[in-house]
Amino acid sequence: MVRFFLVFLFSISFVYSEDSLHIVAVGEAELEKSIIHFQSLTDSNDKDLELLSEKYISVFKNNFSFYREIISVSNSNRSFIGQLGNSYKIWNDKNFKYVFNLHLSRLTDEEIELKYEGYDVKSEKEIISNVHKVKIGMFERGLIHKISNDLYEAIFNKKSIFNSKILFVSDKNSKGANHVKELFIMDFDGNRKRQLTFHKGTVISPAISYDKSKAIYSLITKNRGRNRNINLYLIDLNTGKSKLISKLKGMNSGAVFLPGDNEIALTLSHTGNAEIYIMNLETKNLKRLTKHYAADVDPSFSIDGEMLAFLSGRVGKAEIFTMNPSSLEKDVKRISFVGDYNATPRFSPNGKQIVFSSWLDNRFDIFRINRNGRGLVRLTKNFGSNEDPTFSNDGEFLAFSSQRVLSKTKAVQNIYVMSKDGEILGPLTKNFGNCITPRWSK
């Protein structure tokens, strides 16, 4: 009896008890920015060479300062090097994560040797190094950009913007009432501006090929009234030669290259209404993509070629649409639902987002939206009237044209660059006429 009782007590003592853990998410970490230090190890006794070396160093610093969100450029002008092979310790003490050494030395009367090494201080290893022979008297900006890109790739494992170019249209050659708009090209940082076209006419809507070897643009003919046409030209960027490739009646404009650079998408109005087509550059064969009585213009292709974004008036006002470009009017989907007038939609390089300009508060501003129509964000505000956004090749930056009012009768447009989240870095053009329609090479 007692045994029963004891066993009974024993069994009921195992009471079910609840134990709960409370989880809360801290969220994604912030990037701890590394510091990169550029230093010249050129012999300080050779003053000319030392000056050149310092100029090159400042180009490196300026390049990397574009990426201020992910890396800090040390502003020290001194060079730190260990005598007994203990450079890593010295650099570590200075908190440098990466160090880049540049040495210039004279080889002959006409040639200089340009030697460089890049180091990862934490892992204590050399990540790039090379030697080049360059001519005296030449400022090797292009080579510095190439080396900058190699260094960037060694650190971040992806391509930078340092080898990219930007096409744009400027009216700086206008004289008085004679308005002239020509095509120009410049480096990603606004340097080495070069005129490409000499039509003395009005160039509009340019585009650059993926391999940067050619560009297309449209030219408004000088005829008046009904005979006026907008023709399409192709220019070889190496030779500088332009040729006419389409002169169908009406518009032949808003052209963009398809991946592969053999085909282009453009707006044609020869059927009486603006529609979007794909044209083969060799055969000039046309493949129609849109068919609607409202205007369909401004095509933009995603880099994978899977999606086309365009502007259409089919809902009564200019809105952004996407479609599958494999056949006519396939999977047309409306993307923008708000805004009085939306314009120039452009895909990001990864194809996930579309930037465009929209009319709001008596000016244009730049917005970004996901390709599924969600996540609409505003990127510019209180910064003049901002149009024609174009993504950089790595998707981290946007170039756009911004109009500033100078007085009651004067306004000027310049090209600016900002981060993909709207942090304005600064202007790329200045005192160069009105610069518009920037196109960043991909």
Binding site: F14, S20, V24, G27, A29, E30, L376, V377, T380
Partner: protein, 262 residues
């Protein structure tokens, strides 16, 4: 007669023996069954996940840029239910709170929803929080990128997933949601550890006054540096707010897990 009695007592003895055996066996079986059940429940720890959630409806072009929104404050302790109670009881503090609000940066939610009548910023937490709150948007890019639909209607939500018992769920939830805001400013990773889908969870033991007694890795990410940076961020973020009588058990028992990132 004696024979009958003898037979009967024999039978009774056998019966009692059998019955005793039967009872022992049943008890042993019950005991075994319960202990199996218990071992199952021990491994099924109830995970209660605390999340801040916001509902967004698109109605117009955004008024504010992405950059402006990032620089606005967000205060996770804006639990509307609790605030309503406080307003009823502390009406004389209203004017102080209104004044403080206009001095500080306007919170994301107040800007869009016009919650000026409903918001209460707990005065004692303000001084510590202001600096850290200013950074909270900046840190929370990924979550925010889905929420940044400015110029649109936004309503505050708070979701608790899982069952809860034996404490004031609202109060605990409110306390727990403060922790990420304190820790985020110290939660940094170098580029080689970013975007690698690493996850770790840190178990923290906090005493009543908010002091961190212990922090340990509950689930490792597999990367030693990632784990140690998470621990370091927790240690740097202390002291945490003090806990009331109702909820201090949760802190002292190590029932709070911090997810890096989730």
């Amino acid at each position: 007669m004696a024979e009958v009695k003898e037979n009967f007592s024999d039978k009774l003895g056998r019966f009692l023996g059998a019955s005793f055996l039967f009872h022992i066996v049943s008890l042993v079986l019950i005991f075994l069954w319960q202990s199996i059940n218990l071992s199952k429940t021990k491994t099924n720890l109830i995970m209660i996940s605390h999340e801040n959630s916001v509902r967004v409806d698109v109605v117009a072009m955004p008024k504010h840029t992405l950059k402006e929104l990032k620089n606005m404050n967000i205060s996770p302790e804006k639990n509307v239910k609790i605030e309503k109670q406080e307003i009823a009881t502390k009406s004389n503090e209203n004017s102080d709170i209104e004044f403080k609000k206009s001095k500080n940066k306007k919170s994301f939610l107040s800007m869009l929803k016009n919650l000026s009548q409903k918001e209460v910023e707990k005065p004692k937490d303000n001084s510590k929080k202001n600096v850290k709150q200013a950074d909270s948007f900046d840190r929370n890019k990924k979550i925010l990128s889905n929420l940044l639909l400015a110029g649109n209607k936004v309503s505050m939500g708070s979701s608790i997933v899982g069952s809860s018992a034996n404490y004031d769920a609202g109060e605990l939830s409110s306390y727990i949601e403060k922790l990420p805001v304190l820790i985020r400013p110290f939660w940094k990773l170098p580029s080689y550890l970013m975007n690698k889908d690493l996850k770790c969870r840190v178990q923290i033991f906090i005493n009543e006054s908010g002091r961190l007694i212990k922090a340990k890795i509950f689930e490792s990410s597999g990367n030693e540096e990632y784990d140690s940076r998470a621990l370091k961020a927790v240690k740097q973020a202390q002291p945490f707010p003090s806990m009331s009588e109702n909820i201090k058990g949760v802190g002292v028992n190590g029932s709070i897990l911090l997810g890096f990132p989730i």
